[in-house]
Amino acid sequence: MQITITDVHKRYGDVVALDGPSFEIPSGSTFGVLGTNGAGKTTLFELLVGHDRPDSGTIEVGGLDVEDAGHRVRERVAFLPEHAGFPAALTGREVLDVHARMRGLDAGDGRIGDVLETVGLADAADRAVSGYSNGMGRRLGLAAALLGEPPVLVLDEPTAGLDPRGVATFHGIVERIDRETDATVVLSSHVLSEVERLCEEVAILEAGELRAVGPVDELRTASGDGVTVVLRPADDRAELLDAVQGRGAVTESGAVIEVTCERDAAFDLLSAVDSALVDRFEVREPGLEAAFHDALATDGDRTGDGQSTEVAEVSGR
């Protein structure tokens, strides 16, 4: 189900939360919304799920205007808020039972058991939520969101506060949703590697403005196609430095030597250097991080195809 965001403005008092972002989230994609704190990600999500109304502009979910639909938009959009929580006295199954009945679903048709299985909480289903870890709580929240088989799933900072194992489990669930369903997943995160791994497309917001939007691969490429070869010298650091000179931009960074060069030149470099001089090496491809910092540094918004447009200015602001 496609989501279309058109010139949305929202301010709280003197604070401009959203300043006219416009972009489309393709149906069936996993889409990331990136930005620094206060960039407008949560505000965008609140408008998207009908918690608030934009001052101007429109958001459509599958052709349905969110402002007109009000709370009924959440029939189509399941939302996992960043600060979702559950009464400690209820069990995981009871929480999902409440959700099912609120959505008018038949709680007895096995769907609750299925989603508990999906998020890996089947064994803990009948334990009180008070005994759940942070990660289990987040997975329970995801299970609640999945219960209604939503065509759109909005996840606000879904892995915030999770340990690495919890993060990995969560990633696995989102990847499975991406693989096995045609649900549109929209997530925000501060972890760029997470977005890079899970999302096909991203939008980068800063101070309420759209700074970049497009497929992750294209944004990465737009930030340059150079790679960085990181070499840790074995014994003779000077000899290794001599060997890499002239093969790219050479910098010494602590115990390692970094050579930034074209992708093809990296293969040549690794072939040319005597392996006895190198203790360990690593090749870093251009990542989303560079695209993110580039986007924050620009004044206008940038699309994945490299075209730039000025962000629309709103009179009176």
Binding site: A89, G104, E149
Partner: protein
């Protein structure tokens, strides 16, 4: 993403022809069947609140408090009761209830919204396709049932004790007192819910609730007596002053059922204001409904 699948994130996925599922969901949404109907949603929220209050031992605690105070006062005043035992005990219990019942009701309700927000449960409920106002009303209804149950059992225990002591003569007075007590408690429960919907933090809600208790239970009557003593007020003004305070309404209801012209304080004047029992009961009902309606409006504007 596959193009020929339908949303089945609960484990599997169906293949083609599958867009019918989305269409069905849309159809259900259009005719109001996509999510639970509003009264079902209200009952689910109320039932959940009820369950949480039982498990959180609020129900037991409130029942124990009401039972202990009611039985204690009944036993304590037993030696002085004669043939009019029910009425005297009700007069004593009414004085106790005016202080105790609002305090317990506010303590039980001040975190109904803001507390649920701080625990994250409100965020979770608001993510569902349900009007926020329903969540507030459901929360109030669930807690009201628990409170009413505790008050009826607690004060009812004293009633049974008196029933064994004096028989059924005068029990109707006690039943009226019991109903008025439940009504008084529900008013302050509603006020607590309103405070909870307005307060940004739980501690603020607690402070505001204590201020509300002090105003309605202590200050309003004193001010009212002072104004009546100092000014020559019309009956309408006195009536308005009474109706502006639910504890005054409660006193007037209870004293009216006793047939007494007055007890201490503001109520002595009120009996002459000409307010009938149905008017007083309607006013008490308005005091229950209005704060919850305002809370429902406030929570729609609340930014989490």
């Amino acid at each position: 993403m596959t193009d020929d699948t339908v949303p089945r994130p609960d484990g599997g996925y169906a293949s083609a022809g599958s867009t019918d599922v989305t269409t069905e969901r849309d159809t259900r949404a259009a005719d109001g069947l996509g999510s639970g109907k509003w009264y079902r949603q209200l009952l689910v929220v109320a039932g959940t609140e009820y369950r949480l209050a039982i498990r959180g031992r609020w129900a037991i605690a409130m029942t124990a408090i009401f039972t202990a105070f009611a039985l204690g006062l009944t036993t304590f005043s037993g030696s002085s009761v004669g043939p009019e035992g029910f009425e005297r005990t009700v007069a004593s219990l009414a004085v106790l209830a005016v202080y105790l019942v609002p305090l317990v009701a506010l303590a039980f309700s001040y975190d109904a919204v803001v507390g649920r927000e701080e625990s994250g449960w409100l965020h979770t409920l608001f993510a569902l396709p349900v009007d926020r106002a329903l969540i507030v009303v459901g929360t109030a209804v669930g807690r009201a049932v628990v409170f009413a149950g505790a008050a009826i059992i607690g004060f009812g225990a004293a009633g049974f004790f008196l029933l064994g002591e004096f028989g059924t003569t005068g029990f109707d007075v006690y039943a009226s007192f019991l109903l008025a007590t439940v009504g008084l408690g529900l008013v302050f429960l509603a006020v607590g819910v309103l405070v909870s919907a307005l307060a940004p933090e739980k501690t603020h809600a607690l402070g505001l609730s204590l201020l509300a208790w002090a105003w309605f239970v202590l200050v309003h009557d004193l001010l009212g007596l002072g104004v009546i003593a100092a000014l020559d007020l019309t009956d309408a003004a006195v009536s308005a002053m009474l109706l502006a305070n639910p504890t005054g309404i409660f006193r007037a209801l209870v004293l009216g059922s006793l047939g007494a012209a007055g007890d201490a304080g503001f109520a002595a004047v009120l009996a002459e204001a000409g307010l009938s029992t149905p008017v007083l009961a309607a006013a008490l009902l308005a005091w229950i409904v209005l704060p919850i309606a305002l809370a429902a409006v406030a929570v729609r504007r609340r930014r989490l």
